[in-house]
Amino acid sequence: MADSATSRSRDLDKLLLRPGNLVGPSFEPGPELRDDLRDYARVLVVGAGGLGCELLKDLALSGFKNLDVIDMDRIEVTNLNRQFLFRLEDVGKPKAEVAAKRVMERVNGVNIVPHFCRIEDKELDFYNDFNIIVLGLDSIEARSYINAVACSFLEYNVDDTPREETIKPMVDGGTEGFKGHARVILPGITPCFECTIWLFPPQVKFPLCTLAETPRTAAHCIEYAHLIKWDEVHSGKAFDPDDPEHMQWVYKEAVKRAELFGIPGVTYSLTQGVVKNIIPAIASTNAIISAACALETLKIASGCSKTLSNYLTYNGVEGLHIKATEFVRNKDCLVCGPGVLIELDTAVTLRKFIDMLEEHPRLLLSKASVTHRGKNLYMQAPPVLEEMTRSNLSLPLFDLMGKVSRDVVHVAGLSSMDNKKASSMRKLRVAFKGVPDGVTDMDMAGGA
């Protein structure tokens, strides 16, 4: 066993035991690093599908010992061609549980904790426990959610530099057919998912009247069954894309529709693809992207090399192209940006705070509406919400924000910056004077 452990870390040692010119800033080579990786690095893999299976295996073989995996799906027969940790007898079982078990059986000493649930079901604290979050997802919504969670841990110093210990690194992988990407997101340092949301092209949507009147393609027939026929037959019952019976029903209706109009090409997998907006996955693309992601995770944790800056694309459609692009942060990003620091007395009312925003040289924001952690403190419109929030105006903001020493609020209103009036939304870091911080150093709450 000792022998196999040595042989297993042989390649890893080439990265961890020797110095180099391209290493990260705090890299200290040595065998302790190998132990530290095992003892201190906790990594969460989000998704146990095609990419997730590869990621778990790659991370387990790269010297990480403490892994968690979260996925809400159960194994389907159609997964078996590429989600190589699953066998025929696993069909119907939770992906996260089977994937964790299989990798633990094959890789000595690794501990993988599965979580069979939705990512939204976990508290923020769950995510905060991990040092690095690796994403193997196929949906923009899920990425956006995890991104918002990871960025919510980020705190800034008075000089708008990120506090290193609050940075929650993410490594994001994605594949579509023969194309894929791997990226490193260090919130506050490299662009977050929302900074570059435009990278994802909008989904093609067919006009409903085309579906209802003049279908021309197999996809039209499928969307007709999914969006129109389903409601007609199942009055009130919501369609669930993750329920195989629902999918089967849509498939059968789409076939009928296609026959009626003489349109070829409706299959069950196309139905799944159209309804869930999935492009067929290719095993080798997953393997390549996962390898890149696992390597970046190792680099972030150990510092054995500088990390990818910051977005790698792979295209295997014709030949093999790999390119790294350095995207830049959106300094005003509402999710990862520093926002504008505002220091207040605890007695300042919400009304006074809203007035102050109009005078603030970096904001010049009039008619502001204010929201804090999902609670709308004041809304200028519509009248029904203005009425419901009006009583907050005379209360101290400190009380409305739950008496914390500092936190982020977002404000929407009419900005008059550069002599131009424009509707805008801004992020603010509110710090209350004289309130003990309770956290680490006092650079935000008490300082400046």
Binding site: A148, F206, V384
Partner: protein
């Protein structure tokens, strides 16, 4: 970063039970706080002031075929807003060429022509427009579209009949005036 990992992170007091806000929620907050609706449209939030992702819009057309009627629309905003349009359904059963009996709405900006620069205000105006100018060229209710095209007077009669809770052909409607 392994050195940082070794420093056990201190619990932040304000992280407990805190809710993070997604980009979609923030953008929607902005949209809603800037709403500027015509008198004939009103908005309500069935889940209270902190759930802006689900709301209802009541339209009372003040001109055209549907004058005097009240039509309720439900809005479901996706977590991927504004990169995806909200899902809009007409909750009032209606005789209309561009809205089917299940409440599906054929409005270009809700599907093929949606762009992130559009907002909730644009959609509500678009819906309002469907009442002042129903069009037979994008039919969801095939029969209603054919009647509007071939016999606008009969279409007007049918609309009145549907709105007062009668039958049009074999379809029964509920009163919505």
């Amino acid at each position: 970063m392994i050195k940082l990992f070794k420093v056990k992170e201190k619990q932040r007091e304000n992280a407990e039970n805190a809710k993070k806000q997604t980009a979609a929620e923030l953008r929607l907050h902005k949209d809603i706080s800037e709403l500027n609706l015509p008198k004939s449209c009103s908005i309500t939030f069935p889940n209270g002031k902190d759930d802006l992702m689900n709301f209802e819009v009541l339209i009372r057309p003040d001109e055209g075929y549907y004058v005097g009627g009240k039509f309720l629309f439900s809005f479901q905003v996706s977590p991927h807003y504004p990169h995806e349009a909200p899902k809009v359904k007409c909750k009032t059963k209606i005789y209309h060429p561009n809205i089917d009996l299940e409440g599906n709405v054929c409005l270009n900006i809700l599907r093929e022509d949606w762009k992130p620069v559009l907002n909730i205000n644009t959609i509500i105006y678009g819906l309002y427009h469907l009442f002042t100018e129903p069009n037979y060229e994008d039919p969801l209710n095939h029969d209603a579209a054919a009647v509007l095209r071939d016999n606008p007077v009969l279409f007007g009669t049918n609309v009145k009949r549907a709105m007062s809770g009668g039958f049009v052909g074999h379809t029964s409607f509920s009163r919505c005036t």
